[in-house]
């Protein structure tokens, strides 16, 4: 197997933070990671002179390459070591087109520049940001040898998924003079001589790539000292103060997108504060539910925001006062104000909402497939079709009529403006009384809806991991609650005084400049959560921690690796055995999981794929921290510096407090069991 890293940066470009390249560091990286080939892939730049220096300095294969910024994502193009002139020419064309941040080239331009992509290795960012959109790859799909991923989880997922290209895991490292640790993201390929052609052939076969040299995809290198981990479930044992948490911290620091549940992080210190925090957490994770529940109200609110009853009242007032004024001054009328159009009011125009809804409903009955048989049993679908046709024709007629009326209204307005300029007689200001009345109805209905929302009621009941989550709606009880629901520093005392009168309350909220109108729907009803345990009682502090742990483990699905430090610190064995073990095992089927434990319920029963044992050893005057590792059934565990330790002894010592204690406990249990 050959170990390769075909994504290495050596030149800071527009797309990088500044760094200073150091050839010595690159040499060390190649040597310590035991690489057989690398590719120099800077963003849209190929520095030929630097490349040649690197190639000469290293005694491994160094491919020339580019990380091209496409308009649809990033893509690696790796050229042949034997045809540098051509590659250099193509790279220059790319560089010429990408000269400032935000520049990119299209796939068509890429094809135009490289003409025959068959001569290169083409590796798009596949499950890695910025990822290339799948359909954008279509024109060059036949040239793609592999897809780059950025974690072992995604590597394994791509290996198992037949629809995805062969995954490759590369470092994407900036070789900087300040580097203190080296990345562990490389790929092994089952390839003889490392030529571009041979690599292309290998990469097209998923069976020829692996995360480790000898253990296929079961193990991968997790730390730069060579420490391996299983891509499944790892259990890390060890006495106190032997560096278990230190090891987890190192893993966390050297990988991205890690879910790290630290020791005691879920144990509550202050009961009230924890209960509040817990409820906030729950609210956040369940915000989608709130959105869905309030979506209907949101639509209503958006409409009612545009209803201004005060403006409507003013319009009626203006109409009447100008009408009475005109009547008083009727003797001042002249040729202009005496024209019929001078006092003409506009035609009312309707949006025909009712008719449109009716047509939709009839169409729904006609087009429904699922309940066709029942519909046909009761209704003649052909006559429904005739009904739909008639209604649609009526709608057309009304629409045409509406159009005509709008044209006439416009015309009347123009004429009235002209007449008004020539006369001193007062003109009556028109008002749409239909709209005024409908607005009143809107406000009435809106108030009814808000009153419903303010009544106490359970709006959802859901079972999660043996707990029941109840979401309840009710009214806000004070300005302080509104303030915290708004997430702003706005004062709500005046608004809260109107809380019982929904429309007046809404107008108060609309006057508050700090509030975003799109968030106002959250300020009408308070949604709270209650968690009940299996017996139907509200959860205790301990149960709350259990629930949080299970939620945290579940949340790990959104990450690439899960680290869990001594879950037993806060939980009892029955809980650990029944729920935690099962969930940890499930998560480990999709990503690497490391559990640090002293507890035999977790350590011995969880079904680890790989066992690690951390140990603090005195060598002469020095303290050495070592990690031994191996499969749970191995006789011995091995450290990266080739020391070994007896697996049976350390497991018994760590999980059962030694052979004697274990035998003693077993005898006591036997005796208890045999008592009649």
């Amino acid at each position: 197997m050959k170990k390769i890293d075909l994504h290495v940066h050596t030149v800071p470009t527009l797309s990088d933070s500044p760094f200073t390249f150091d050839l010595g560091i690159l040499k060390r990286y190649v040597s310590e990671a035991a690489l057989d080939a690398i590719a120099i892939t800077n963003h849209d730049v190929f520095d030929r002179r630097q490349y040649e220096t690197i190639a000469e300095a290293l005694d491994i294969v160094v491919f020339p390459g580019l990380e091209v910024t496409l308009d649809c994502g990033h893509l690696l193009i790796i050229g042949n070591t034997t045809n540098l002139d051509t590659f250099d020419d193509h790279a220059r064309e790319v560089s010429a087109r990408i000269t400032q941040p935000g520049d990119s080239i299209s796939i068509d331009e890429l094809i135009g520049i490289f003409r025959n992509l068959d001569e290169s290795l083409v590796i798009p960012h596949y499950d890695k940001r910025p990822a290339i959109k799948r359909d954008a790859l279509e024109p060059i799909a036949s040239y793609v040898s592999a897809g780059e991923v950025d974690s072992t989880k995604k590597f394994i997922r791509a290996i198992k998924d037949e629809t995805k290209p062969t995954p490759v895991l590369f470092s994407d490292v900036r070789i900087s003079e300040n580097m203190t640790a080296f990345p562990t993201r490389q790929t092994f390929v089952d390839c003889g001589e490392l030529t571009l052609h041979a690599l292309k052939t290998c990469l097209r076969d998923k069976g020829k790539v692996a995360l480790s040299e000898t253990h296929g995809n079961q193990l991968f290198q997790v730390l730069d000292d060579g420490q391996m981990l299983s891509t499944g479930l790892n259990v890390l044992l060890g006495e106190r103060s032997t560096g278990k948490t230190y090891t987890l911290n190192r893993i966390n620091a050297s990988h991205d997108n890690v879910k790290y549940i630290k020791q005691f992080s879920l144990v509550q210190q202050d009961d009230a504060a924890c209960a509040r925090e817990f409820s906030e957490d729950l609210k956040r994770t369940r915000s989608q539910f709130i959105e869905e529940f309030l979506s209907g109200f949101k639509v209503v609110l958006n409409d009612v925001m545009n209803v201004d009853l005060r403006a409507d009242e003013r319009a009626v007032e203006d109409y009447l006062s100008t009408l009475l004024e005109a009547a008083e001054e009727v003797d001042r009328r002249d040729a202009f104000s005496n024209t019929a159009l001078f006092d003409e009011t506009e035609f009312p125009t309707s949006e025909d909402k009712v008719l449109i809804d009716l047509i939709d409903s009839v169409r729904q009955v006609i087009e429904n497939v699922e309940y066709r048989a029942i519909i046909e049993k009761h209704v003649d679908v052909d006559s429904l079709k005739r009904l739909a046709v008639e209604l649609i024709e009526l709608l057309w007629e009304k629409k045409l009529d509406g159009k005509k009326k709008r044209v006439v209204n416009g015309l009347v307005r123009d004429i009235q403006t002209g007449l008004k300029r020539r006369t001193s007689a007062a003109q009556v200001q028109d008002v749409d009384l239909y709209k005024v009345s409908l607005n009143e109805r809107k406000v009435e209905r809106f108030s009814e809806i808000v009153k419903c929302l303010q009544e106490v009621a359970i709006i959802s009941e859901e079972s999660i991991q043996g707990f029941r989550i109840l979401a309840t709606k009710c009214s806000f009880e004070g300005a302080g609650e509104l303030k915290s629901a708004s997430g702003t520093k706005t004062a709500f005392r005046d608004a809260f005084e109107q809380y019982e009168r929904p429309y007046a309350y809404l107008r108060m909220l609309l006057d508050k400049e700090d509030l975003s109108w799109s968030e106002l729907y959250k300020l009408f009803t308070k949604i709270t959560y209650k968690i009940l345990n299996a017996d139907g009682f509200e959860v205790s502090g301990g149960e709350r921690s259990e629930f949080r742990l299970l939620q945290e483990i579940k949340d790990a699905q959104n990450y690439d690796m899960l680290l869990l430090d001594e879950p037993e610190s806060s939980f009892d064995n029955m809980f650990l055995r029944s729920d935690v073990n099962r969930m940890i095992k499930e998560v480990s089927e999709t990503m690497p999981v490391v559990v640090v434990t002293h507890n035999s319920t977790v350590g011995a029963s969880v079904g680890a794929d790989y066992l690690l044992y951390s140990s603090k050893e005195i060598e002469g005057n020095n303290v050495v921290y070592r990690v031994y590792a191996g499969h749970p059934t191995d006789l011995s565990l091995h450290s990266v510096d080739d020391k070994t330790i007896n697996n049976y002894l350390i497991t018994l010592n760590t999980l059962e407090a030694g052979q004697d204690a274990y035998n003693d406990r077993r005898r006591r249990y036997e005796a208890l069991k045999n008592r009649k």
Binding site: V299, V316, A326, A327, T345, V428, I458
Partner: protein, 107 residues
């Protein structure tokens, strides 16, 4: 019920006492009350007749208001339908959540 009538060469509207007052005394509240009435129930409005109203001021007011109320009367059914369907989905959804709770024995 008659909302507007022409009598004794003048225009009259139905006031809040159930009697009739001259149209030039109509207020904003009166007008909104007439609007509510015409949209809610079967009502009558004497059609404008320039010959029958001698007072020119009354003529102007009566014509304008009777036309407005007439338009509304013609759209009464539309208004009823539109009002009933107003935010109906949201209304039903939130009313049901609350009423189910009241109905349930342990709610």
């Amino acid at each position: 019920m008659k909302l507007l009538k022409i009598e004794n060469n003048a225009g009259w509207y139905l006031n809040d006492q159930g009697g009739f007052a001259p149209v030039d005394k109509i207020t904003k509240q009166d007008l909104l009350r007439l609007v509510s009435l015409i949209l809610a129930e079967e009502t009558e409005v004497d059609e404008f007749d320039a010959e029958a109203i001698k007072n020119q001021a009354h003529q102007l007011i009566y014509k304008s208001i009777s036309e407005k109320l007439g338009d509304l009367r013609d759209r009464r059914q539309e208004f009823t339908d539109e009002s009933q369907r107003l935010y109906l989905q949201a209304y039903d959804k939130y009313r049901d959540v609350s009423s189910q709770q009241k109905d349930s024995p342990d709610g």
